[in-house]
Symmetry: C2
Subunit: 328 residues, 2 copies
């Protein structure tokens, strides 16, 4: 079986690691591809930073700092202090030294003319990831945020400097009208037996992937069922600041509301199925009536076991949907 | 008095520090400008490296590693190991973390469209240098070395990887035919009361400065006397691998031979005067006959005292030459 996951950063990385763990245990997954959000990417001090990709890379490589939740294990910040002394980085964004090595390598390859997909492939060879990472697009679609009062800033400034505390009016992806899905990402979607939507931020992680012209069509045409996992449990975001993002687009911080925001694939949306936490089970019948058959399972990814189980539950739900579709 | 120094890296930095020390002690130097060799500059892993400029910057800032002789005090190499793991830097060139901060800031400003002269000015504001550094040219004139057998490599590979051990046939500066002196460097030469040529490598430090079209003319037209300091003492280079470089251009490793290589300004060359070590005093009369009046003084720059004294000796020699010229 081939599994393709749409994913953002930290939550996506934990989910992808769970899928890989399930694959190792079950032995019935031959290939895992991850289509990675590029909406968080940005240029800083002349280097190209891919926060979500690198969260996936380091987590799958076992090189992430699990305590802090992001970045490299054993990280230091020697260069960052210099960059701030020179005034080329703002005080609210610190580049780790080990992380900077990745940024510099990536930037060198990009400047040499390689596409982001090619660069991701190179970055993926250093460690045995067991997963192939694909930027959702080879075009730059950096996110900007328009906040109340009309100020416009790069997503990273809103997210990292202001901790998403400035009320956002809308998110804009510069240049997205001319962007297209990366061919390798499209191929991974087209070849998948199951497409899973990770419990990542629906607005700023999954949203930018879906906003790439052609991506929604590709997902609708995919032969595989598309099953999403809620990143909202009992009305609260599992991590990150998803509530601020959902508020900006007028969606409630609620598992069912997010499912309806994605929409039923049978009615032109994204999802064939949906996984919610057990405390959100009550929304199940209404969602099923809305064309998004849902199951309630344990959603907390605490360790390898719980993450692998969540992946197994998502694949089992996809399998049921496929069987239902065959019967229909 | 305004003093302008032509200089390369480590030797040039020590000499410039000596000029500054003499200025502080004597109180009769109002301004020190240094025209810096750019022939060692190169691109590595997408960042622009200015070895000679940075040796001057760190030395004048008191931030250099005096024991090692180059780079920053308290340096570490966390990023370098990553860059090598990614394969974007060769194993024979290690970028220090603190140093990398400088490279990244510089590269960001260059990519934003600033000239090297503008960037040098910015870099010069962080510390109180007491000296203004000017790249000799705003054009890239990276040095390549053709070695016996015909192989061609970047100067840094020849110098750092091979320790100048491969016999060099010639040095080539890519793009130098279209290069021109940086306006600020020219202005510093034109406004000087004395021009000093630091005891830097005559071939790969002073040579590239002189090879910039228009630079020799500017020095010939300068109203100030031009006085050089030998980097060769008793037939041996004070530091670096000047002998390999001199051999490549067919010049003996000898203080008088280097003076003749620079040539008498009165006969179309560079020098009005020349300082040699006391052990090389015997060459004095012949050099004077060749139009390069020489004096023998202690050349070893061991500390602030000896460096300041050497600067004072060079300025005194220039003063004598000026008086002689007035009498003539």
């Amino acid at each position: 079986m081939k599994v393709t996951v749409l994913a953002g950063g930290v939550g996506g990385a934990r989910f992808a690691r769970g899928v890989r763990e399930h694959a190792r245990r079950s032995g019935d997954i031959e290939r895992i591809d991850v289509v990675v959000n590029t909406g968080d990417d940005w240029w800083l001090a002349g280097v190209r930073i891919w926060p979500d990709h690198d969260s996936l890379l380091y987590t799958l490589a076992g090189e992430n700092d699990d305590e802090r939740g992001w970045g490299r294990r054993g990280e230091s910040e020697r260069v960052a202090a210099e960059l701030q002394a020179w005034g080329v980085t703002p005080p609210w964004f610190t580049l780790g030294d080990l992380d900077l090595g990745t940024h510099l390598a990536r930037t060198a390859w990009l400047r040499a003319g390689e596409t982001p997909s090619q660069v991701a492939r190179r970055l993926g060879t250093r460690w045995d990831l067991g997963v192939t990472l694909h930027p959702a697009t080879d075009d730059e679609i950096d996110t900007h945020v328009v906040v109340e009062g009309g100020d416009r800033m790069h997503f990273q400034e809103w997210w990292t400097r202001h901790r998403a505390s400035l009320p956002a009016i809308r998110f804009e992806h510069a240049g997205i009208a001319k962007a297209s899905p990366a061919p390798a990402a499209l191929a991974a979607i087209g070849a998948a037996d199951v497409v899973l939507v990770a419990p990542s931020n629906p607005v700023v992680s999954i949203g930018p992937i879906l906003a790439i012209p052609g991506m929604r069509d590709a997902l609708r045409r995919a032969p595989a069922p598309v099953v999403g996992v809620s990143g909202i449990i009992g009305g609260a975001a599992v991590r990150g600041m998803a509530d601020s993002c959902l508020a900006a687009i007028g969606v409630e911080t609620d598992a069912a509301a997010v499912a309806r925001h994605y929409g039923a694939r049978s009615r032109g949306g994204l999802l064939d199925g949906w996984l919610v936490a057990e405390e959100d089970a009550a929304s199940g019948p209404a969602l099923t009536a809305d064309g998004i058959p849902s199951v309630a399972v344990p959603l907390w990814m605490r360790d390898a076991d719980t993450s692998a189980r969540l992946a197994a539950d998502a694949l089992a739900h996809a399998s049921t949907l496929r069987a239902d579709a065959r019967r229909a």
